[in-house]
């Protein structure tokens, strides 16, 4: 709709057009005082113009809706939204770097590797780091940890939480000017309390829990990450019908993806490694087959390179493939540095 249709006086219309406003949308983001200054009219008059403009715009949108579907967004808006999202740090700057800032919210990230590479460690670290308060650049959220293998160790999570709080107070000291009253009231116990821990003993339980998550998260809106450690374990037995397994798995992945979008949270799925037999040669690959590899937005493979642990971005729509070294220390996941040998707890 154009300016000349607005129910305003001819002189006002003339002023608007000579100032360069030809369409209603160009008026949409203006404040009355800005408009008044630009048109050299009184503020009350500018207010009147804007009111008339917004009124006829309202009529227009109700007549012919501009967006086809509710909730549809332009790519520009989505980019804007994405930039304002906070990522969950992994506590290793190198790893965060290749991940574009950390684990992304609204996305499903799969992390896989051989036993002992640090999948569970990374999972616990993320469940702790999601709780870093806003003042420290965190999400100040809670975590859901779904343990299918029984590898979650409370004592280890406690250590990681302790180290995380120590790091935050260190950080606090450097930035005292900005955060005068920024006291850390967190205790490791609080961090553990904010991890909702579910232990799963069969795949039926796993599916039931993931169906239930929607309700659970609606009641606990501050949940910002769901970690499944591992998504694989119960699906590697009892499935003679592989087509059925694929259907069940992709149904589950879809639900998780919906959760991620709906509640703007990060979903982290840990996967095991397996040996794939193709054309007479054996190759290391992540478990659950080819169709599963389509279901996750991001896929990160953890592997050994000599004596160092590395993470590699195997698949991501927005990140370039890159690898970075990390290490598992007594304090949790940290940057790898050959000069600083891993600290032993003993």
């Amino acid at each position: 709709m154009e300016i000349w249709r607005l129910p305003i006086s001819a002189s006002q219309r003339g002023k608007l057009i000579s100032a360069g406003y030809t369409s209603l949308s160009s008026l949409s983001s203006l404040s009355p005082s800005d408009l008044a200054r630009e048109l050299k009219v009184s503020e009350a008059e500018a207010m009147g113009i804007l009111k008339a403009a917004s009124h006829s715009r309202g009529a227009e949108t109700s007549n012919a809706s501009c967006s086809i579907l509710d909730g549809a967004q332009s790519a520009w808006d989505m980019l804007h939204d994405e930039e304002s999202l906070i990522h969950i740090t992994t506590s290793s700057a190198d790893l965060d770097n290749i991940l574009g800032g950390g684990i992304h919210c609204k996305e499903v990230t799969e992390i896989g590797g051989v036993p002992g590479i640090g999948k569970t460690q990374l999972g616990m670290q993320i469940a702790v780091n999601v709780q870093i308060p806003h003042d420290f650049g965190g999400l100040s959220g809670k975590a859901i940890y779904i343990d299918t293998e029984g590898s979650f160790m409370v004592e280890r999570a406690f250590q990681i939480a302790e180290a995380c709080i120590e790091d935050m107070s260190e950080y606090n000291r450097f930035l005292r000017k900005d955060f005068q009253e920024c006291k850390i009231n967190m205790k490791p116990e609080d961090i553990l309390e904010n991890i909702f821990y579910f232990r799963i003993c069969s795949y039926t339980e796993q599916i039931a829990l993931i169906n239930y998550l929607d309700k659970f998260i609606s009641e606990h809106k501050d949940v910002k990450v769901v970690v499944v450690d591992s998504v694989t374990f119960h699906f590697r037995q009892d499935f003679d019908d592989m087509a059925l397994r694929t259907r069940v798995l992709s149904g589950m992945a879809l639900k998780l993806m919906n959760l991620a979008k709906k509640f703007s949270l990060a979903v982290v799925l840990l996967n095991q490694a397996t040996i794939k037999h193709t054309e007479g040669s054996f190759q290391l690959a992540l478990a659950l087959g080819d169709s599963w590899s389509h279901t996750c937005t991001n896929r990160i493979v953890l592997y050994w390179n000599g004596n160092e642990r590395y993470a590699y971005i195997d698949k991501s729509p927005s990140l370039r493939s890159a690898s970075a070294a990390y290490s598992v220390t007594a304090r949790g996941i940290r940057n790898s540095s050959s000069s600083c040998k891993r600290i032993k707890m003993m």
Partner: protein, 293 residues
């Protein structure tokens, strides 16, 4: 479905009976978890298992579980004599925790296993067995010594058979973990090793855990049952043994005498709660003990 509170979940540990080893293991073998011990024959796997099933009977204040244990053995015969010997020294050093005429061996239930299917069958019977345990002492420890023996003979080396085998691994492991969760059990499983041939590449050289490669008796080895099984256990420990010459003596008539000593070491290959660490140990008449260096 309700989430569990982590603060009430602190996992209990079962002491190994040696403070040095306990320190390395963060208190012992954890409950609600599957721990695997990998070693070549004669390294002390069975010794640890026997020792653990005795020490599980200690009261909680002494690091035990105040519980009896279920010992599934697949390698024959069961070392009754050694168990008896360990039992005597165990009882004499912990006399005040047990009545005078009490025999700790009474609280170790031994069952032999002949095949993988037999193992599954036993495990489905284990649940009612633990539930309706007639003794007052509940079962809190399951030992499988060894898991490899039942799997290494039964299956052919064809893709179909291997697939069936790994599916069985996951079945057994998930049953074990479900039991461990339900009754808060410690589960200890032993595994054998296979020699590694050829160059350090491909799946043969696949690195699993903290150690680049496992050496024992001067040979490079790898745990049996492959990657699939490695995914089935929560923690993996490795025992190595190496013969070391500690002195030589020449005698004219009998030729050369060489004095050898076996040095044994325990490594943490991977565990969710333990760092990369190792410890030397020795096996004596009284049992298995860590050596501080």
């Amino acid at each position: 479905m309700m989430p569990q509170s982590l603060l009430q979940l602190a996992s209990q540990k079962c002491t190994t009976g040696c403070p040095i080893l306990d320190r390395l293991l963060g208190g012992g073998i954890p409950c609600d978890s599957v721990t695997e011990i990998v070693a070549e024959s004669g390294s002390g796997k069975t010794q640890i298992c026997l020792q653990l099933s005795l020490h599980a009977q200690l009261p909680v204040s002494r690091g035990g579980l105040a519980a009896s244990s279920l010992y599934l053995h697949t390698e024959f015969p069961f070392p009754f004599r050694r168990l008896h010997q360990l039992c005597l020294s165990f009882r004499s050093s912990n006399a005040r925790h047990f009545p005078i005429n009490d025999n700790p061996c009474d609280r170790i239930f031994v069952q032999s296993v002949h095949s993988a299917d037999h193992l599954l069958e036993i495990m489905s019977k284990t649940e009612p067995f633990i539930e309706n345990s007639i003794t007052q002492v509940p079962v809190r420890l399951i030992v499988i010594d060894s898991i490899a023996a039942v799997f290494r003979s039964e299956f052919d080396n064809t893709p179909v058979e291997l697939k069936r085998r790994s599916s069985l691994f996951f079945k057994i492991s998930s049953k074990l973990k479900a039991l461990a969760k339900r009754f808060n059990l410690a589960v200890l499983v032993t595994n054998q090793v296979v020699d590694l041939m050829g160059p350090n590449e491909g799946i043969n050289g696949l690195r699993i855990g903290n150690l680049g490669c496992l050496y024992t008796s001067g040979r490079r080895v790898s745990p049996a049952l492959g990657l699939a099984w490695a995914n089935c256990v929560n923690s993996r420990l490795f025992l190595s043994r190496n013969e070391e010459v500690i002195g030589e003596e020449n005698e004219k008539s009998n030729g050369d005498f060489v004095f050898k000593k076996t040095r044994r070491k325990l490594y943490v290959v991977y565990a969710p709660h333990l760092p990369d660490s190792s410890c030397e140990f020795e096996i004596t008449r009284e049992g298995l003990f860590g050596v501080e260096r």
